[in-house]
Amino acid sequence: MKKLIIIVSIVAVLGIIIGLYLYNKPSEFKSTGKPDFEVNLTDFTKEGIEIADSIFNKKYVGKSVRFSGTAQTIKENDGAISIQMTTDQEEVVVLAGFHASVSKEAKSIKAGDKVQLQCECNGVSKPADEEDLLSEIVFTLSRCSAVK
């Protein structure tokens, strides 16, 4: 009986420790490892424009995407860095966001640099109608990291 109580106590303590570890595990601020998709940026945006948002978003949202492209503009906001990539389509914007904790690697990127990035895809947004102030087709990517 005593032995059983000790075993149950050890299991309970281990359970609490594992639970606390999982609960307090910090978020990932950048996408690393093998990506879910490795894409050509032009094909990626073309797919997002041509197919319904819902289908595109079901496929890519929350998934890691690796792509190459040219940085067009780099902006800083509250420590985080946002890089707008050059696209060959009008009214199409690709935004790659770097978390403040990895902004150092983003700051080394200059406008006009060719870069390979891996990010988490947050989806595509399209204007609802011609009166929409948000008139661009925007592809949002976050938790980006520069691939060496």
Binding site: N24, N57, D78, L95, E120, G123
Partner: protein, 183 residues
């Protein structure tokens, strides 16, 4: 002839001013959860926001861009509560209720109310938000602080975590827009 030319230029100038739009793709929204057991916040620096000189206001918030400190909270928020695969964006579209005293070309701070429609988690709801427009040279900062109730948007918080995740969430908006285009 000179008079006609002058009037034409004046009319075109007025038309341009009338249709000026200020935009950003790097707006900031923070949400703060204060429950009986836990307080935490998440930050989003990828908010698209726009305001026109006519007083039309729009926001688009990519849900997955919210960054939490804890991984478990982030995945629960994205997958279980907001179902971001199905509803990747939250949007707000509205108009400043009294645009008479607001001049987006004149530096100053303007307290405004914006009436519009929130669209989040597949639910559309009318609301009026109070906020401030801070106008400086070529920029308009949109600042607001308000609360939303999760159950209004069919966001279900499981009973097991209801002591940690509040039904009412505070939202702070801070979006610095710049002149974008003339529509």
């Amino acid at each position: 002839m000179k008079k006609i030319t002058f009037l034409t230029i004046l009319a075109l100038f007025a038309l341009n001013l009338d249709a000026q739009t200020f935009k950003t793709n790097e707006g900031n929204i923070k949400f703060i959860n204060k429950s009986s057991l836990e307080e935490f916040e998440a930050v989003n620096n990828q908010v698209t926001a726009a305001i026109s000189s006519k007083g039309k206001v729009q926001f688009r918030v990519p849900i997955n861009s919210f960054q939490f400190e804890k991984k478990l909270m982030q995945s629960h928020f994205q997958e279980n509560y907001m179902e971001s695969n199905t509803f990747p964006n939250a949007t707000f579209s509205g108009s400043v209720t009294k645009m008479d005293g607001v001049n987006l070309t004149k530096a100053g701070e303007y307290n405004v109310k914006v009436a519009g429609i929130f669209d989040m988690h597949g639910v559309s709801k009318a609301d009026t938000l109070s906020g401030k427009l801070i106008v400086a040279k070529g920029t308009v900062k949109l600042v607001s602080s308000f609360s939303i109730k999760c159950n209004d948007y069919n966001i279900k918080i499981p009973a097991a975590v209801s002591s940690k995740v509040a039904n009412e969430i505070k939202i702070n908006v801070n979006c610095l827009t710049a002149i974008a285009e003339k529509k």
